[in-house]
Symmetry: C2
Amino acid sequence: MVDVGVAADLEPVPGLLPRKIARGTADFTEGPAMTRDQAMAALVIGAEIARDLVAAGNRCLVTGDMGIANTTASAALICAFTGADPAEATGRGTGIDAATYARKIEVVCRGLARHSPDPADPVGVLAAFGGFEHAALAGFILGGAALRVPVVLDGVIAGAAALAAVALAPDAVAACFAGHRSAEPGHAVTLSYLGLRPLVDLGLRLGEGTGAVLALPLVQSAARALRDVATFDSAGVADKL
Amino acid sequence: MVDVGVAADLEPVPGLLPRKIARGTADFTEGPAMTRDQAMAALVIGAEIARDLVAAGNRCLVTGDMGIANTTASAALICAFTGADPAEATGRGTGIDAATYARKIEVVCRGLARHSPDPADPVGVLAAFGGFEHAALAGFILGGAALRVPVVLDGVIAGAAALAAVALAPDAVAACFAGHRSAEPGHAVTLSYLGLRPLVDLGLRLGEGTGAVLALPLVQSAARALRDVATFDSAGVADKL
């Protein structure tokens, strides 16, 4: 667990890495959510976490994230990177009512209008709309991809981060596995844009790594099938029929 | 591993339960594949295996099967129980060519025409078309359901067996989880008829329990989420927003 920007002071806890960049991001309808320097700092933190996990012997990385209102920021990032319509990329998150949902779409539209994001400047897009978790996850994905380690992505927040990572380094998509397809509509848009097929599709909307963790045994099974299972030839099966 | 009807004499092997009913079934285009007594014997063997596994402490059963040409028998069973058209329920199995595929559909049609199966007589349908593995799996499903233990079904062969089990005892469907949806078209027909949603849908066609085993961690995770994960109330989260 990495604190990259919780809007509170956290006491030291075993397993919690303190990497706080700031206490929360700014309101993206009023200005950029973070500075470019903050976005870069979060990217580097994510890449360093990936590097340290791989150095410790891990052969597969799995994303998880916690954040408040981060499906809104994700929707804005998805629109900025894919060109999707805000009404198509914005979902109901924790289960908001129709009026709040309409306001959420309007907030995304307002942010896009204010920043006129340029997908050719991924750090600028991250700075405009991202949570620190998005930027750190993008760095984490890039770190895993650079080290040739597969990264199993969780839901819509990880997907939005993957769009930033792939905008920075298109080859990074080859390291990404879509753990699942969440119920958030922006996630389907994202997976389709990235050309990723979800391993699990169970209408989950919790986030926090749950969908990616569910898919991990499938990735492990696939690796073991390729490595450990006999072929007809190696097992001496005379005739496959 | 249970030998219910391999068409060869098998030497004793640790883990292989010898329960052979006959050396293979008969040609269903010429007569019933097995006698009613043989079908009943296989049903009982399957139920006994389920009973023994539950008595040994297993809390979830998973189906697997091996058989030669059993996608053809499965297609006939699926048509008999669901009323599906043979062209819709018959697939390419291990990857047969177009001419063999056309012949396979024709064989299923011929079998259905010969036996005029009555889905209200499930044992008769099993006897007409089934492999011993279909009847044993049907008994295995019924055994698990009777003991209130979930049964994770593999692909199209297990699906055809589940149709027989549910025809015998409709409530048994509540014990069934569709591990995956295989590439065999008859499997989609079957799952739709049973009202089961596959946990994994990755275009697999191997069978032999592989799809069910892939889904098992998902079932285990679901059970643990229901039993072990704190709720907002139990964790003392003041406000879910």
